[in-house]
C-alpha cells in the first residue's frame, strides 16, 4: 500500500471524524449505542472494508490502513464499533474456511449493512482463546452450542462469530442475534457503550454456520485478535494525543496567581512526562505495525508486537488521562467538559482485549529473555 493511499485515508478520516461531544453524550446508554446511519456512511467511505478483499466488496488494503482509520476514530471518540466489527469479527470470518459465508457476509460487513461481534472470552475474561467456555455438543445427531461468553462487543450486533470448543478443537460459528437459545445480556461500560454477556442454550449450528473448522479456527482467531489489539491501540493513541493537546491548551490559557498555570515548572515537567508516554506509544505502535506487515512475520512475532503495543498504549492512555484530569482541576471532573468523554473511553479501550498487565504478562511469556 502506498504512502499516498494512507495519507488520503488519514485525511478523509480526519475530515469526517471530528469530535461531536453532543452526539457522543446523546448515544450513551442507548441501544445499540451507535448510529446505523453513521455506520453505513463509514461503509460508503470504504473504511469498513479496508481489510476485505475487493472481490468481496472491500478495498483490499492492510493493517496499515486499519490503524490509520482507527487512530482518527479514536480522536473523535466514535462510538461506532470499528475495531470490534470491521477488524476483529471481519478478520475472523475472512481467515476462516467457509467460502459461502464469506460470500454472503463480507459484502454486507463492508457496506455497513450489518454489524458483527466476536464472542471468544469466557466469563472471567483473559487472553487465551483456547480458554473459551462455549462448547459444541452433539445431541441426537444435531450440533448445539452451550455455555457463555462475556465482554462481547458490540452488545447489539446483528450476529456474532462464536468461538466454541469441539471434539476436534476450536471452531468458529456465525450466530444471528435472533437465533433461538441465544440470550444477550448487555453490560454497561464506562463510556456509555455496552458489551454483552451471551448465553447459549442448545443453539443449533451446522456446517453452514461454521465460519472456521478446527483446521483454521485457532489461527484465524489469533490473527484477528492481534490485528484488533493493534487497531484498539491506535484508537488509544488518537485519544491520548487529543487529551494531551486539550490539556496543553488549558495549561497555556488557564490563569492563576496572575500567570498561565503552564508557566509553572512543576506542571511543565509533568506535561513533558505525558508527552513522552504519547511519543513512546507512537514509536512502538509504528514499529509493531511494521513488524506485522512484514511478510516474514510469524504468528508468535505478531503476538509479541500486538502485546508490546497494547501494553504501552493502555498504560500511557490511562496515565495521560489521569494527569489531564488533575491538571484541569474540578472542571475536568464534570460531565459537561469533554475531557470526561476521553477519560471514560480510555478506561474502556485500555481494558478491552487485554489490559496493560495482561499484555505485559503475555509479552514476557513470548518474548525471549535477553
Amino acid at each position: 500500500m502506498s504512502d499516498d493511499t494512507l495519507r488520503m485515508l488519514r485525511d478523509s478520516a480526519a475530515d469526517f471524524a471530528t469530535l461531536d461531544g453532543a452526539r457522543v453524550r446523546r448515544l450513551r446508554g442507548t441501544d445499540p449505542g451507535f448510529e446505523r446511519d453513521r455506520w453505513r456512511e463509514m461503509g460508503d467511505m470504504g473504511w469498513l472494508g479496508v481489510l476485505i478483499p475487493e472481490a468481496h466488496g472491500g478495498l483490499g488494503l492492510d493493517l496499515g490502513a486499519a490503524v490509520t482509520i482507527a487512530e482518527q476514530l479514536g480522536r473523535a471518540l466514535y462510538p461506532e464499533p470499528y475495531s470490534a466489527s470491521a477488524v476483529l469479527a471481519t478478520l475472523a470470518l475472512l481467515h476462516g474456511d467457509n467460502a459461502a459465508l464469506k460470500q454472503t457476509l463480507l459484502p454486507r460487513l463492508a457496506s455497513g449493512e450489518i454489524v458483527a461481534g466476536l464472542a471468544w472470552q469466557g466469563e472471567r475474561g483473559g487472553l487465551d482463546p483456547d480458554q473459551c467456555s462455549v462448547k459444541l455438543r452433539e445431541s441426537n445427531g444435531a450440533q448445539q452450542l452451550e455455555g457463555s461468553s462475556r465482554f462481547v462487543s458490540p452488545a447489539a450486533a446483528d450476529g456474532y462469530i462464536v468461538a466454541a470448543r469441539a471434539a476436534q478443537g476450536l471452531e468458529l460459528h456465525w450466530i444471528a442475534r435472533s437465533a433461538p437459545g441465544l440470550a444477550c445480556e448487555p453490560e454497561a461500560r464506562a463510556d456509555g457503550s455496552a458489551s454483552a454477556l451471551l448465553r447459549f442454550e442448545a443453539v443449533g449450528v451446522s456446517a453452514d454456520t461454521r465460519v472456521a473448522s478446527p483446521a483454521a479456527a485457532s489461527a484465524a482467531l489469533r490473527l484477528a485478535l492481534d490485528h484488533a489489539t493493534l487497531s484498539t491501540s491506535a484508537e488509544l493513541f488518537g485519544l491520548m494525543d487529543c487529551t494531551l493537546e486539550m490539556t496543553l491548551d488549558y495549561l497555556r490559557t488557564r490563569v492563576q496567581f496572575g500567570k498561565p498555570i503552564g508557566s509553572f515548572q512543576a506542571l511543565q515537567h509533568r506535561a513533558v512526562d505525558m508527552y513522552m508516554q504519547k511519543e513512546m506509544t507512537r514509536a512502538t505502535l509504528g514499529a509493531a505495525v511494521s513488524s506485522v506487515l512484514d511478510p516474514a512475520c510469524t504468528g508468535e512475532q505478531r503476538a509479541v508486537a500486538a502485546s508490546s503495543a497494547k501494553a504501552r498504549a493502555s498504560q500511557a492512555a490511562l496515565a495521560i488521562c489521569k494527569e489531564a484530569l488533575q491538571m484541569h482541576g474540578a472542571i475536568g471532573y464534570t460531565d459537561e467538559y469533554d475531557l470526561g468523554l476521553y477519560f471514560n473511553r480510555a478506561l474502556v479501550l485500555s481494558a478491552s482485549l487485554g489490559n496493560a498487565s495482561a499484555h505485559r504478562s503475555r509479552y514476557a511469556s513470548l518474548a525471549a529473555l535477553p
Binding site: 496543553l248 495549561l251 497555556r252 500567570k259 498561565p260 503552564g262 508557566s263 515548572q265 511543565q268 515537567h269 506535561a271 513533558v272 512526562d273 508527552y275 513522552m276 511519543e279 513512546m280 514509536a283 512502538t284 509504528g286 514499529a287 508490546s308 501494553a311 504501552r312 498487565s357 505485559r360 504478562s361 509479552y363 514476557a364 518474548a367 529473555l369 535477553p370
Partner: protein, 389 residues
C-alpha cells in the same frame, strides 16, 4: 593534504550487510576480550592498545569525511558501525576530539587550525576533554565565569572548570570562557582550545561516590593560549558549543546501557532464585517493554540522522527515557539483590561473580550529565509543547 591514514576502500560502495560484516569481523578478531563490557569508564592506559590499532587502521573517526581523514561513512553506515561496537561491548575512550573538536573545527575552524589539530586527533596523540561546567555553572551553563582576556597574541585564562571527564588522561581541552563581561549571558562567551601542559593549569581528579576518579577539576591561573586558538568568532562560543549537543543526546539515548542492566538484573534474579516469581516477572516485563520501546524510539531518531536531517529538540525525550529506564532497572537490581546489594566489586552469588552495584553507579549520573533531565524537560516544555515561560 593527508590528515590521516588513507582508507582501504570507499565504504559506500559496500552494501549495508557487507559493511556490517567487515566491521564485525574486525572487532571479533582483534578487540581484547578483557575489555568487553567494562563496569566503569576505562582509563586511556587500559584501552589505548585497541584505539591506537583503530587509529593505525584509519577507523578512529568513522563519521568524519574522507577529505579530513575519516572513514567518510554515510549516516546509515555510521549507525551500523556504532551498533557493531556496542554489540561487542566496546567502551568509548576519551573521544571528545573525534566527536566534538573535529566536527567543530570542520564547521567553524580555520584551515590552519584544521591542519594543526586534526592529524594528532586522528593519531590519538592528542586527547581532548571538554571544559564547560563550572562550580556555579552547571545546568545554568551560560552563567560561567572563567574569563579570557586578549593580551597581544594570546588570551589569558583565569578561573576554574569542574566535572571534566578524564581531564587527567587528556592533553588538550576545549574551554568555554567569558570574553565580554558586559554582554548578556550567552553572547559574551568564546570557544578556545588549550594545551593542558601550559603553565598555570592544574588538574585535580575528583573521587566519585562509586570510588572511581573519572572526572576532575581544572584550575587556570594566568594561563596563556595563543589567540589563534579561538574557534569561530569572538563572543560566538555559545553557538559553536551548541552545534554538537543533538548528537550527544542521541548517543546517550542508545539502548545499550539499559540492555546491559537487564542482563545483570537477570543474573542477579537467577542467583537469588526469584526469576519465576510472579511479582518479579511483572516488573521485569515492564522494564523489558521499556527497553524494547526505547529501541523503537531510538530507531526513529536514528532514521532521522540516517537521512542526514537535523535532530529537533524532541530528541531530549530520548535522553530522558533512556536514562530513567536504566535507573529503574538499576533500582530493581539492588532490590532483587537483597543483602548482596550492599556489597561492592565483583560479588560471589550462587555459582557466578556479579558486579551487582556497577549498573546502579553507572545509572545515577546519567540523568545529571549531558544536560540534566530537568533541563531536558524544560527544553521539551518550552520548545516542543510551547508552554509559556
Amino acid at each position: 593534504m593527508n590528515y590521516g591514514v588513507p582508507q582501504e576502500q570507499d565504504w559506500d560502495t559496500l552494501s549495508d550487510a557487507a559493511f556490517r560484516a567487515v566491521v564485525r569481523a574486525e572487532v571479533e578478531a582483534h578487540h581484547p576480550a578483557e575489555l568487553r563490557y567494562p563496569p566503569r569508564r576505562l582509563r586511556w592506559a587500559e584501552n589505548k592498545s585497541w584505539y591506537l590499532r583503530m587509529a593505525a587502521k584509519g577507523w578512529i573517526a568513522p563519521g568524519w569525511p574522507r577529505e579530513y581523514g575519516g572513514m567518510g561513512l554515510s549516516a546509515s553506515k555510521l549507525l551500523i558501525f556504532l551498533e557493531e561496537m556496542e554489540r561487542w561491548g566496546i567502551a568509548r575512550f576519551q573521544d571528545h576530539g573525534i566527536l566534538m573538536v573535529g566536527p567543530i573545527l570542520m564547521r567553524f575552524g580555520t584551515e590552519a587550525q584544521r591542519r594543526r589539530y586534526l592529524p594528532p586527533i586522528l593519531a590519538c596523540e592528542e586527547i581532548w576533554c571538554q571544559g564547560y561546567s563550572e562550580p556555579n555553572a552547571g545546568s545554568d551553563l551560560a552563567n560561567l565565569r572563567t574569563e579570557a582576556k586578549l593580551d597581544g597574541d594570546a588570551f589569558i585564562i583565569n578561573g576554574q572548570k569542574t566535572w571534566t571527564t578524564l581531564a587527567h588522561d587528556s592533553t588538550h581541552m576545549i574551554v568555554l570562557a567569558r570574553t565580554d563581561k558586559e554582554a548578556k549571558k550567552q553572547s559574551g562567551i568564546s570557544f578556545l582550545m588549550l594545551d593542558l601542559k601550559t603553565p598555570g593549569v592544574t588538574v585535580r581528579p575528583i573521587r566519585d561516590l562509586a570510588g572511581h576518579d573519572e572526572f576532575c577539576e581544572v584550575f587556570f591561573d594566568n594561563v596563556r593560549t595563543p589567540a589563534t586558538n579561538l574557534v569561530g568568532k569572538l563572543n560566538q562560543g555559545w553557538t559553536v558549543a551548541k552545534s554538537q549537543l543533538g548528537f550527544e543526546r542521541i548517543h546517550i539515548g542508545s539502548p545499550k546501557l539499559p540492555e546491559y542492566g537487564l542482563q545483570v538484573l537477570l543474573s542477579v534474579a537467577r542467583a537469588r532464585g526469584v526469576e519465576h516469581d510472579a511479582l518479579f516477572r511483572d516488573r521485569l516485563a515492564q522494564l523489558q517493554l521499556d527497553v524494547a520501546h526505547l529501541g523503537d524510539i531510538y530507531a526513529h531518531f536514528a532514521a532521522i540522522v540516517g537521512r542526514g536531517e537535523a535532530l529537533g529538540p524532541e530528541v531530549s525525550l530520548l535522553k530522558i527515557w533512556a536514562t530513567e529506564t536504566f535507573q529503574r532497572i538499576a533500582d530493581l537490581i539492588i532490590e532483587t539483590a537483597g543483602e548482596f546489594g550492599g556489597l561492592t566489586g565483583k560479588v560471589q552469588m550462587a555459582d557466578g561473580r556479579i558486579e551487582v552495584l556497577a549498573p546502579f553507579y553507572k545509572a545515577r549520573p546519567t540523568s545529571i550529565y549531558g544536560g540534566s533531565n530537568e533541563i531536558q524537560r524544560n527544553i521539551l516544555a518550552r520548545q516542543v509543547l510551547n508552554l509559556p515561560g
